[in-house]
Symmetry: C2
Subunit: 311 residues, 2 copies
């Protein structure tokens, strides 16, 4: 197949069709209609071979995750995803690879009613760049800069499992069960949680580079500090001490970390319970800047922390 | 500098600030406000090393062109560009490379009041993916599918010079003057022309893969054919017979090709003259499908034609 035939067969025909897409794949640009009273949220993320996934990664997982990380960014703003574009550079036009990639990509896209509206298919080293566009009611976006002293800090789900899976694949930890590997390969973007908390949360971020690094962005942009109780971190399967380290530092969990005023606690917990979403209050925002990691008995946590740096 | 410092210093601080950008670079997503009565046009294009530019290409030109090709796609819809995201994979964090890349990128972005609203900077083989978003009044987008039998076919500017520059750089043609190389390295997207023709044109496309390939998309999607008079093609510096071949087949010109009803001829030509934009009527749309290439004396053109295929 030619480039055009590949795009038509695998990409244009597999996407669902939203009524707000006036013109999808196949022209110089897509044409889109915006609902009244909404702002747009726009994000983009690249997954590159040997940086974000190994050569052994399944194309299904690469397709799934390339979209998931972008939907996770929209969720962290409280936005509802609508449209995506997809730019792939690929060493060769391997149809079975593309077929499986699309399976993963569209499984997730269809789950959230997201339409693929355009893209580019280029010859080159394997890398995938997705841009996602979502809606959010005017002035309702949850920023990193809105945290206030006294806010409670929450995280969804469990932390550190994607990091453990990565260590295991790198031979630095024992083999892990399939559900832990799934946390790394097919993270579930917290789309419905983002929507649920956008009237409650003061600040939010998704945990892609590790809790301390990502919470650090909230603290920096909000000009506040935080106390985190490390023995409150939701670890699920993980052994305790190493688990705390992973939960604080490992990336790729794609859970949400957010802050709420204390008087919204009951409302928040009712909403997340209704979504069957596990949540944990892990600490509080402080006026004093800096990140204070401690146990509930008051003892300081002394482990090394730091997030992933590309350069 | 770290990834975050690089983004802040070179990208966030160099972008202009539009009043419709509620939140730009630095959060999980940008937040944007849409003017009433407008639809969005969204496009994305990747430039990859050794496919779209050689290792010897200047970072200034790569920055400029990675944006230009996307603005050209918006122009082909008649859209006014507003916002862009930029995903770069880069083998190393070479600050002088990034500095020069940004010079080229922001020179063009600022010319058209385009704001960089987000992006991603990743370690990996050199490739740049830009996504551009523009506005177009509701139902005014110029589609590939709107050409009608009897329409006149126009192109802006001159054709084939970017192709000649490429042949020259590949050692397949004699050295060419700097202004011809500029056609390849720093194409001027026809933004103002796209805006000017959106009330007149029935169909439009930008010439990125060669006139016959790109006009072919209009013909296919409009279910029509065309007669093109090859000795009418605007060749500028090019030698005649080889020039026709290049004008028909070479990519990278980023001129617009569009069709108008005959009764709009005077209006069109007045508008393009006011923009100091060279234009040429090169043929007509026919009910009979297929592309009929001939000289004005009626003789058929027999050269090989075909556009660039990535796979």
């Amino acid at each position: 197949m030619t480039e055009f035939e590949l795009i038509k067969h695998y990409f244009a025909q597999q996407s669902l069709h939203r009524p707000d897409v006036m013109l999808g794949i196949g022209d110089d640009a897509a044409i889109l209609s915006i609902p009244a009273g909404m702002e747009l949220a726009v994000t983009t993320d690249t997954l590159a071979l040997d940086v974000h996934f190994p050569a052994s990664a399944s194309p299904y997982d690469i397709g799934y995750k390339s979209l998931a990380v972008n939907l996770s960014d929209l969720a962290a703003m409280g936005a509802t995803p609508a449209w995506v574009t997809l730019a792939i550079t690929l060493p060769q036009a391997d149809e079975s690879w593309i077929h499986s990639f699309c399976d993963g990509f569209f499984t997730l896209a269809n789950r959230y009613q997201v339409q693929l509206i355009g893209g580019d298919l280029t010859h080159g080293p394997l890398a995938i760049t997705v841009q996602a566009i979502g809606f959010i009611p005017t002035r309702k976006a949850i920023l990193r800069s809105g945290a206030k002293a006294g806010d409670l800090i929450y995280v969804t789900g469990t932390l550190g499992e994607a990091g453990l899976a990565l260590l295991s694949l790198q031979g630095k930890a024992s083999p892990v069960p399939e559900d832990i590997l799934t946390r790394l390969h097919r993270p579930e973007p917290r789309v419905t949680v983002g929507e649920a908390i956008r009237d409650i949360a003061h600040a939010a971020i998704d945990i892609s580079d590790g809790l301390t690094a990502d919470l650090g962005h909230i603290l920096e942009q909000s000009h506040v500090g935080a106390i985190i109780y490390v023995d409150q971190l939701p670890l699920s399967h993980l052994p305790h001490e190493g688990g705390i380290h992973l939960a604080l530092t490992a990336g790729d969990d794609y859970e949400l970390c957010f802050t709420i005023p204390t008087d919204k606690r009951a409302e928040l917990e009712a909403k997340l319970t209704a979504l069957s979403c596990r949540y944990t209050c892990i600490g509080t925002i402080t006026e004093q800047t800096g990140l204070d990691l401690r146990y509930q008995n008051g003892k300081k946590y002394h482990g090394q922390i730091g997030g992933y740096q590309h350069f």
